[in-house]
Each structure stands twice: as structure tokens, then as C-alpha cells.
């Protein structure tokens, strides 16, 4: 097991190196630079800025220096928000995205699992159709529609919750639900599918024959096996929750990293783009590794010890 994890971690290095290189050159290929603005900057000021941010050196030299700095863990300064370095921005903003993502995942799992189990235990009943229609709606409604809709109802009409912000617990409810809703819908459908397959198997019939309670059959025997597809989905879903929160962060004014990530690309904030891309790439690689480990734990056939 340890050897497997170590081998996977070693594989990260070339992957991240390729991502860093590609990102470095791709952002430079995009027209426009970080210091272009509607108001022209004088040539003298421009030359000073280029020199201070090391943009006046040949691209190959810039690349070499950037990679050397990167090996020392230095992402460089942010061009657009220079009051902090890229690493400082990530440290400041990522915990907020992480918190939002975690709440959204809790929302997604609690709604998704309950709906999926309810639907699968009475297939083709009204309960099943209701749960699955709900799931279909969740998948179809994009979060930039759902978010304002929830705000309209819970913040403007009922006045239960704040419109935006991230300073109190109440602020965090609507963004978490908005971000989690689509994933809840996927999880509900995956759970239903996985559970239906498992509940039709022989060992479940045996369990019923032994006179076990329905709840015990579903939870103990059904869920553990029926959850396999959900677990496989959780890796990319967790990564998606952390990276794909741009719209939700904008609608609810959540100062997370997702918004920073997208804005950096618009602003041609070179160092910020590469920094966030590498950071997210590492996260996704780690999540996939975790999923593989979780699947091995759930399903002995997928274990890697001997492999």
C-alpha cells in the first residue's frame, strides 16, 4: 500500500512539470499583457514595470528563472493584486473555497444519498419519480439561475438569510446549497442506480430470508456495495466543487480562490494563473489518489497491495 502511494506521488512530478510548462507558454501566447489598460502607460513607466517584474528578459530566460523559483516553492508576486504574493493569496483564499466546497459536499451527500436510497427502495413508485424529477431539475438548473432564485425567496421575500457575504454562518447557507445542488442530483441518480443493482442480488434476498429488518438490509448490506459509483464520482466532484465555484463565489460575494482563478486569466496575471493552475492540478491529482484508496477499501477486488 505504501509503495503504491509513493509511486503515485512520484508520478505527480512529471505531470506538474508539464502543466507548469504548458501554462507558462500558453498564457504568454494570449494577446495583451498584465499592464495593458484603457489609459496608455508611458513608455518609461512601462519599461520600469517590465524590468521590475522581469518581463524584459527573453522568454526562455523568464521560463528558466520561473521554474527555478518554483522549485523553491516561490510562485512570485501577483501582477494585479500586488499587495500580496501569489502564495499568500492562495493561503488566504483557498481555505474559503475549501469551506464552501466542504459544506456543498455535505449538502450534496445528505440530499443525494437520502433521495437516491428513497427512490431505489421503491422503484417506479411516486416517491421514486418525485426524487428523480427533483434530481433532473437539479442537474438542469445552472447555479447562476438557482443562486439568484434562492436569494429572491430566502433573502428578499422571507428575509431569513443575507443576500451575500461570508462573514457569518447565515451567509454560508445559500452559497453552499447552490453549489451543492447539482452534485446532489448526480449523487441521487448514481445512488439509485447502484442500489437497484445491489438490491436485486442474491445476498440481499438471503438477508431478507434471514428476517433482517429492511432498514438494516438497505443500510448495512445495500449501501456499502451500492455506493461504489458514488465514491468514484466523489473524486472529480470534490475537485469540481473546489474549482468550479466561480459563479457561486461571484453571485454570493464569497472571497474564495475560484473567482481569483478566473479573474487572473482575464487580467493576464501571469504568475497568479500559473500558481492557481498548479495548485488546482495538485489537488485534483490528490483527490484521484484518495478515490483509488477509498475504492480499494470498499471493494477488495480493486486492492493494489499485490499489484
Amino acid at each position: 500500500m505504501i509503495a503504491f502511494v509513493a509511486r503515485r506521488l512520484l508520478q505527480f512530478i512529471p505531470v506538474l512539470f508539464v502543466i507548469a510548462t504548458l501554462t507558462f507558454f500558453l498564457v504568454r501566447l494570449a494577446p495583451g499583457g498584465p499592464f495593458d489598460s484603457e489609459r496608455a502607460v508611458s513608455p518609461e513607466v512601462r519599461a520600469q514595470l517590465d524590468a521590475q517584474y522581469h518581463l524584459d528578459a527573453p522568454l526562455a530566460v523568464q521560463y528558466r528563472d520561473y521554474m527555478v523559483a518554483l522549485l523553491h516553492g516561490d510562485f512570485g508576486p501577483s501582477f494585479k493584486n500586488p499587495s500580496r504574493s501569489v502564495s499568500e493569496w492562495i493561503v488566504l483564499r483557498f481555505p474559503i473555497s475549501l469551506e464552501l466546497g466542504a459544506y456543498a459536499l455535505v449538502v450534496a451527500l445528505s440530499i443525494g444519498l437520502v433521495a437516491g436510497v428513497l427512490a431505489s427502495t421503491r422503484p417506479n413508485s411516486i416517491r421514486d419519480h418525485a426524487a428523480m424529477s427533483f434530481a433532473m431539475a437539479g442537474i438542469c438548473i445552472p447555479n447562476f439561475v438557482l443562486g439568484p432564485l434562492l436569494v429572491l425567496v430566502f433573502a428578499l421575500w422571507l428575509r431569513w438569510l443575507p443576500v451575500s457575504g461570508w462573514d457569518s454562518a447565515a451567509c454560508k447557507v445559500l452559497p453552499s446549497i447552490t453549489l451543492g445542488a447539482m452534485y446532489a442530483a448526480y449523487i441521487a441518480r448514481l445512488t439509485r442506480g447502484g442500489m437497484l443493482e445491489v438490491l436485486a442480488q442474491d445476498f440481499i434476498r438471503t438477508a431478507r430470508a434471514r428476517g433482517l429488518s429492511e432498514a438494516r438490509i438497505v443500510v448495512r448490506h445495500g449501501l456499502r456495495n451500492g455506493l461504489q459509483p458514488v465514491v468514484a464520482f466523489l473524486g472529480p466532484a470534490a475537485a469540481g466543487l473546489l474549482t468550479g465555484s466561480f459563479a457561486v463565489e461571484t453571485i454570493f460575494r464569497v472571497p474564495g480562490l475560484g473567482r481569483e482563478f478566473v479573474q487572473a486569466a482575464f487580467n493576464r496575471d501571469y504568475t497568479m494563473i500559473i500558481g492557481t493552475v498548479l495548485f488546482y492540478a495538485t489537488l485534483i491529482l490528490l483527490f484521484n489518489l484518495l478515490v483509488d484508496l477509498a475504492q480499494a477499501w470498499l471493494d477488495p477486488r480493486a486492492r493494489h497491495d499485490g499489484a
Binding site: 494570449a30 495593458d36 496608455a40 502607460v41 428575509r159 443576500v163 451575500s164 461571484t250
Partner: protein, 545 residues
């Protein structure tokens, strides 16, 4: 057993739900942030974007400037209604007959937020800082009207004592100008002229180090009505009353909270839910709704900016001035402001907005489709025949698109020419304009200071803001003469001649002058709309509406 258990659980669940609903409903009865703020003297402002910096010498944006006006005070302040210069840190000043030497007498009770006195040396130090080449301040050019300031700024001169800014004593500041500058006094409210405290800067680095961290809460020394107490990136910037401010007794607010609002819809919803006293902007689509339902909250006022189209005069067909003029004369700008933008904008017939510091263009670019057709025929394209399709570039935005579509339709109808639209992402669009890689492009210019020359300077030969390839020695000559003119009438006459040349040769096509639109609670008093967007924070108060 199981069923009993289930029932128990169900009723527990129901009780929990009821509790939850009640506790949430309890929150619903709470005071809004605006009501609470009005009671406690705390102003809640929606402020467009997250500030990049709070260094008065490095910031470039409107949201930053709006915060800095609460933190700092320059030599003068402005009357927010008339925009007349009033005493600030300087209690009085004299001007020499040739308009070149200004002597400011500073008030002796002006203090930094740490209680130390604000002196003439602080201003000299601040100006040396912004003009330092290595600081690479984009707005350093605002100070180029000071004698030798430009030479120092570009590195041609290294001895700052030769620059025309001298502290004669602690409270007397003498400024010698390179040329008469009628807007010098009103320019003092621009952050590039604000004083900074030497000890505060040098605690964090040398005079010309960018982003040294001196502007963080607890570090930033400011001399205005408020001081920085909190900066939570992306959430809020809080400034609290500065008890050391010389006019602290006039300051009625206890604190101002600036919230970055990148999404206009979110900002409008925050206003509606009672989270904001005032917004920085508003979605255009909401204007009719507010006009109908809550017109007391809606503020629309003229703003010192012009929306215009540029022609690339280096590429056919716009190498021919007659073609450019034909396009200009065929555009019905009244129809655009009435039916497309619909935010109270004024159709523009000149580049400088009317009545900018007493200057109104004597020349106008009229709407005259007959003349337009005639000019196009003279240029060899009768009824647009033989003219290949022309491409109009704009940066991606719903409004620019609507205006461009309306304009293209008018040119098709009046001139028979085909105009295709091209939208590009902001940075790509800027790079296309700078490289003159376009035929026609939408543009805007918002004045930094109340001075027509600030607009007309854009089109000097080879200027960074020209971006049309247009060059006219007569035009350059008029602007250069106007810059040296000590007499206001003479200056305006020269500028008028220059603008006449600009409108006649038409490298640009003015479309409309901007308005600012925002939402304001009636509880906020003393916020005077003006074309500069200038706010005098010490005048603001909060009270029952």
C-alpha cells in the same frame, strides 16, 4: 419497536424543523444593516471592485480612489456641488501674475492619524516619491505640470531639488509650474497629489519601492477624515473616524464600510435587502423598475466621460477623411441614447463633454445623413457601392453590442454600407487597438481632472492614447499653445480650434457623454452627485429619511 422508534424520530425531526423555521423567522425580524448603520453612524457603500492597492501614488481605479478620498486630504478640497476649490490642508494660497508660482500656506493643526503634524515637507516627499522613476507610478504624469517634474520622472534629472516643489518652511509650500495649469487647484483632490508620511513609507522600504506593505491596516498613516482600520480582501474595507483630523468636529459619520461588489445584480439585491446605503453602479435593466417603483432611490447624473468610436486612419477605407465623416454624420446619436442606452446619457456632438470647467466646444458634429451620402459619393462610393464590409471592434459586453448593432443598422440604412461586428476579450481588444489592428473600434475616455485639455491631449501625434494613427501638426500646435496660455479665454479659444480640427478630420466619432447611475438610500445626506464622482466625506451624514 421499530415503528415506535420511527415515530419518535419523525416527531423529533418535525420539532427540529419547526424550531429551525422559527429561529430563521426570528432573524427575519432583525434590523437591516442600513437601519443599524443609520442609527450608529456607519455608512455602508457598495464599491464596484476589490481595490488592488491603497497606495495613493499607485492606484489607478475609481473604487480605490473612492476609498482614498475618505482617508487622505490634499492641499485643497472641492465644493461637491460646484466643484470650486476650497481649503484643505492648505488654508490659503497665492498665485503669481504669470500663473506659474503657487504659494500654499498650510494649516498648523493638520495632523496624521498618529497625531503628528502634516507639514510642507510631507508634500514635497510625496511628490518626490510619485515622480521617482523606479516607483513606476502610472499617474505620475499628473504632476508633470511642475517645473522639471517630467525630466525627474523619466530619469533625465536625478536631483529632486531642481524640481519646482519647495518647502519654504514647515507650513509654506511653493510650487513652480512648467506652464500655466488652470486645473492645478482642483487637481489636488486626485490621489496622485496626496501627501504621504515619510516614516510610514520608510519603515517598510525605500521611497521608490512598490507594494512594500505600508498600506495595511495599522501601518497606513493618513491625514483625512477617516483612518484605515480593517481590510478583509474580497469582503470589506473599514475606515473609522480619525480623531486627529483637523476638522474632526465636522465629521458626522463614525465609520464607513466599503464592500467590493463585482456583480451588479448582487449589488442591486444587497441594496434591496437593506445591506447598502449606496451602490457604486447598477444594472441598466433595473432603471425602468426603479423609475416605476422606487424613484427616490435612483440617482442618474452626468459624468465626465465620452463614449466614442475610433477610426484607424492607417487602413482603407478610413484613410479618407470623407469616409470617416460620412460615417460620423450618418449616425443618429439621439436615437441611440433614447432607444438603446436609455440611462439618461446625452448624445455627443463633440469629444469634450459640454461645460467642462467652463469650456464648451463651439464646433459640433451634426447628424446629417444627406451630407454623409454626398461625402461618401465624393470619396468614390456612391450609395456604399464598391465599399467592402467594414469591421467594428468592441470589447465583450452586452451594452457595447447593442450600441454597435444599432449603429451598424443606421450605416446600412443611410449609407448602404455593410458593417460587421467583432467582439474581443478586454485584453485582446486593447492589444488590437494598440497595434492598430482594427478598422473601427468602440472606446471611452473618462476625465481625470476637470480640464478640457485632459481630453484633447489624447490625440496628440504619437500619444499613447491616440490609437488611431491620426496626426495633425496644426492640432498639436494648438494644444501646445493652449498649454502655455496664461489667459483662460485665450486657452479656451485655442482648445476650441484644436477640437474643431479634430471634429473636421474625424479620426473619432463621439457617440454620447456618460452618466453615472446608482442607488442611494434617502437616509444618506450630503452625497452630492457631480461630474467628477467626487465625494466630500466630512459632509456626509445619516439620519431618518
Amino acid at each position: 419497536m421499530d415503528t415506535v422508534n420511527m415515530r419518535c424520530r419523525r416527531s423529533a425531526g418535525a420539532a427540529f424543523l419547526i424550531l429551525l423555521v422559527f429561529s430563521l423567522a426570528g432573524c427575519g425580524a432583525r434590523e437591516t444593516r442600513v437601519q443599524q448603520g443609520t442609527r450608529d453612524g456607519v455608512l455602508h457603500i457598495g464599491n464596484d471592485a476589490e481595490p488592488q492597492e491603497l497606495d495613493p501614488h499607485l492606484v489607478t481605479g475609481v473604487p480605490e480612489h473612492r476609498i482614498l478620498l475618505s482617508l487622505f486630504e490634499g492641499l485643497t478640497t472641492l465644493d461637491p456641488k460646484t466643484l470650486e476649490p476650497k481649503p484643505g490642508v492648505a488654508e490659503s494660497w497665492t498665485v503669481s501674475d504669470d500663473q506659474l508660482v503657487y504659494t500654499f500656506t498650510l494649516r498648523k493643526d493638520a495632523r496624521w492619524s498618529d497625531g503628528s503634524p502634516v507639514t510642507a515637507q510631507d508634500f514635497v516627499y510625496a511628490w518626490q516619491r510619485i515622480l521617482s522613476p523606479k516607483l513606476a507610478a502610472e499617474y505620475a504624469y499628473m504632476l508633470h505640470c511642475i517645473q522639471n517634474a517630467k525630466a525627474f520622472n523619466v530619469g533625465a534629472l536625478t536631483d529632486f531639488s531642481q524640481v519646482g516643489a519647495k518647502a519654504l518652511d514647515d507650513y509654506t509650500l511653493q510650487v513652480t509650474l512648467a506652464h500655466p495649469t488652470p486645473s492645478l487647484l482642483s487637481m489636488q483632490v486626485h490621489s496622485s497629489w496626496f501627501p504621504v508620511k515619510r516614516a510610514s513609507i520608510e519603515k517598510h522600504g525605500a521611497i521608490d519601492v512598490r507594494n512594500s506593505g505600508w498600506t495595511r491596516p495599522g501601518e497606513l498613516a493618513s491625514n483625512g477624515p477617516f483612518k484605515l482600520t480593517e481590510w478583509k480582501p474580497g469582503l470589506v474595507i473599514v475606515v473609522a473616524k480619525n480623531e486627529h483630523y483637523w476638522d474632526a468636529t465636522s465629521v458626522k459619520l463614525n465609520a464607513v464600510r466599503f464592500y467590493p461588489m463585482e456583480d451588479l445584480q448582487t449589488e442591486e439585491r444587497s441594496f434591496r435587502s437593506g445591506d447598502l446605503h449606496i451602490t457604486g453602479d447598477m444594472p441598466i435593466g433595473k432603471i425602468p423598475v426603479y423609475q416605476r417603483e422606487n424613484s427616490a432611490a435612483l440617482v442618474i447624473h452626468p459624468y465626465l466621460g465620452t463614449y466614442f468610436y475610433r477610426f484607424n486612419v492607417t487602413k482603407p477605407p478610413f484613410t479618407d477623411a470623407r469616409v470617416r465623416k460620412a460615417f460620423a454624420l450618418a449616425l443618429n446619436r439621439d436615437e441611440i441614447v433614447q432607444n438603446v442606452t436609455k440611462g439618461g446619457e446625452r448624445a455627443a456632438s463633440s469629444f469634450v463633454p459640454p461645460d467642462t470647467a467652463g469650456y464648451t466646444s463651439a464646433n459640433a458634429m451634426p447628424y446629417d445623413p444627406d451630407q454623409a451620402r454626398k461625402l461618401l459619393a465624393e470619396a468614390g462610393f456612391p450609395n456604399g457601392q464598391g465599399l467592402p464590409p467594414v469591421e467594428l471592434l468592441y470589447n465583450t459586453s452586452e451594452n457595447h453590442k447593442l450600441i454597435a448593432e444599432a449603429a451598424a443598422e443606421m450605416w446600412k440604412k443611410e449609407l448602404g454600407v455593410m458593417v460587421t461586428l467583432l467582439n474581443q476579450d478586454w485584453k485582446v481588444y486593447l492589444s488590437s487597438m494598440n497595434a492598430l489592428d482594427y478598422q473601427m473600434a468602440r472606446s471611452a475616455w473618462v476625465g481625470d481632472v476637470l480640464d478640457p485639455i485632459n481630453f484633447l491631449e489624447c490625440f496628440l501625434t504619437g500619444g499613447g492614447n491616440n490609437r488611431t494613427g491620426w496626426s495633425s501638426p496644426q492640432y498639436d500646435d494648438r494644444i501646445a499653445q493652449a498649454q502655455q496660455a496664461a489667459d483662460a479665454g485665450e486657452r479656451n479659444r485655442l482648445l476650441n480650434e484644436a477640437e474643431g480640427i479634430l471634429l473636421d478630420e474625424a479620426p473619432i466619432l463621439p457617440v454620447y457623454t456618460y452618466t453615472r447611475k446608482f442607488l442611494k438610500s434617502p437616509a444618506l445626506k450630503g452625497w452630492e452627485p457631480n461630474i467628477l464622482g467626487y465625494v466630500l466625506y466630512k459632509n456626509l451624514s445619516l439620519g431618518a429619511s
